[in-house]
């Protein structure tokens, strides 16, 4: 029988291995699976390659994972925020590798990874430093850059509600990268604010069909990341 619900964030992130590629949803704090990331800090897998739009704020969530030296490389579009302190420090010290990817190209490369499309062409970055080393090709008189798909071993995603089949709905702009990341990972791990009975989510309203989801944990009171950052909260593993 199909039941993707697991009972804890710890159980949800089990098996994430050293050197894995991990996609992490969110646009800033909106849609960031803070509890799953903290469980990954506790779990301790290292040498991770992270794919995420940003590089974390303050000392919680993705910033805590980076600060705990678990991330060797990050693919993202905007690692700089007003309150990002951890990434800049490690980046300047040469202790974390950055691959800068334009936001739309990042989203499309992830979708391609989930959709079985190994590569596609986009007009973004043509004639800019970010196209260096990439194939440029003309279609209908215009130049395009070839971009390859991004896939991951794991995706950590936050959503509003899930059922035991793994069908997901999201909340407002917290949807952002969640749906495409669910598609592109071998194991997709979701934290849902609410787990609902099968049939509660109208089949017309499902945003991520369960086929893309492998584990779901209910986190009914997720952290408000901006509050944690404002309070200068630090997460460095399970506090005893």
């Amino acid at each position: 029988m199909i039941n993707k619900i697991v009972s804890s964030a710890k159980e949800a992130v089990a098996g994430i291995f050293d050197g894995a590629t991990v996609m992490i949803s969110g646009f800033g704090e909106a849609g960031s699976p803070v509890e799953l990331i903290h469980a990954l800090v506790d779990q301790g897998a290292k040498d991770l390659t992270v794919v995420s739009n940003n590089a974390g704020s303050g000392h919680v969530g993705l910033a805590a994972l980076i600060e705990n030296r678990q991330v060797k490389k990050i693919l993202c579009s905007f690692p700089r925020t007003a309150i990002s302190v951890v990434f800049p420090e490690l980046y300047r010290a040469g202790e974390i590798e950055l691959v800068l990817v334009p936001q739309g190209t990042l989203a499309e490369r992830i979708r391609a990874g989930g959709a079985g499309v190994p590569a596609f062409y986009t007009p973004a970055t043509v004639n800019t430093p970010l196209a260096e080393g990439k194939e440029v090709r003309e279609f209908n008189g215009r130049q395009y850059v070839m971009e390859e798909a991004i896939q991951a071993d794991f995706a950590l995603v936050k959503c509003a509600a899930a059922d035991k089949y793994g069908n997901l709905i999201y909340n407002k702009t917290a949807r952002n990268f969640g749906p495409v990341m669910c598609m592109a990972a071998k194991t997709t791990i979701v934290q849902a604010k609410q787990v609902v009975e099968l049939g509660t989510i109208d089949p017309e309203h499902v945003v991520t069909p369960g086929i893309f989801v492998h584990r779901v944990v209910e986190i009914s009171n997720p952290a408000d990341e901006s509050k944690l950052v404002a309070e200068n909260e630090k997460y460095h593993g399970i506090r005893q």
């Binding site: 990874g113 089949y165 069909p209 369960g210």
Partner: protein, 218 residues
């Protein structure tokens, strides 16, 4: 020879049941139009299988009952169907993202021919008078992890459908994992055919006699 088809081996229902036995609990399955659709009726008790139909539904249920058909709820064969609780609707590009992206575990298809290397021909006889039509077959064989073929072992004129090389236009090359016929279940492995199970009354020699391709015993 024609009579062999009738008196020896499995019935179509038994073939469908054999396929069903090989579909694991929790699998996401796409069933081709026609005989493959019968597989759904034979999934053993205790296994939960979710059906994908490429026209935009995951969680397809049974065929709609007479009187409650909805012309806007159909399967890939344009039959009126139903949706189970926990189903999801989506558009065609998302539906084939599931297929091409390797998210569907098993697809069961019919065949005109299967080669000993696992090539499949099931979309065109190559007859220039036929209207060519491919549907989603090429996307399915290219994208789904495991392709099972269910087919009569021979044509109506007793020609082998399991051949050294397909003479009909290909749907895909090296794509078939297992073939279920009325005579046997045959695995395609390392570009060779291995007989996995013989139907009652079918000997290996009988099977080879009715098969153009070279068969191997496990």
């Amino acid at each position: 020879m024609e009579s062999d088809n009738k008196i020896i081996g499995w019935s179509t229902g038994e073939m469908a049941q054999k396929v069903a036995m090989d579909i694991h609990d929790g699998a996401y399955v796409n069933l081709g139009i026609g005989i493959p659709e019968m597989v759904a009726g034979f999934i053993p008790e205790g296994r939960e299988v979710i059906y994908h139909t490429e026209n935009g539904l995951l969680g397809m249920g049974k065929v709609a009952e007479v009187g409650s058909e909805d012309p806007e709820l159909v399967n890939a064969g344009k039959k009126y169907v139903t949706a189970i609780p926990g189903a999801a609707y989506f558009h065609h590009a998302d539906s084939f993202a599931m297929i091409r992206g390797g998210h569907i575990d098993v697809c069961v298809l019919g065949a005109y021919q299967v080669s000993e290397e696992g090539d499949l021909a099931n979309w065109s006889t190559g007859n220039p008078n036929d209207i060519p039509a491919v549907g989603g077959a090429m996307d399915l064989v290219a994208g789904v992890k495991t392709i099972y073929v269910i087919t009569k072992h021979t044509t109506k004129t007793d020609e082998s459908k399991i051949v050294k090389q397909c003479t009909y236009p290909l749907t895909g090359k090296n794509v078939v994992s297992r073939i279920y016929t009325n005579y046997a279940i045959i695995d395609v492995r390392d570009k060779q055919l291995f007989v996995r199970e013989l139907a009652p009354g079918v000997s290996f020699e009988f099977l080879q006699k009715h098969t153009e391709a070279t068969l191997h015993q496990e």
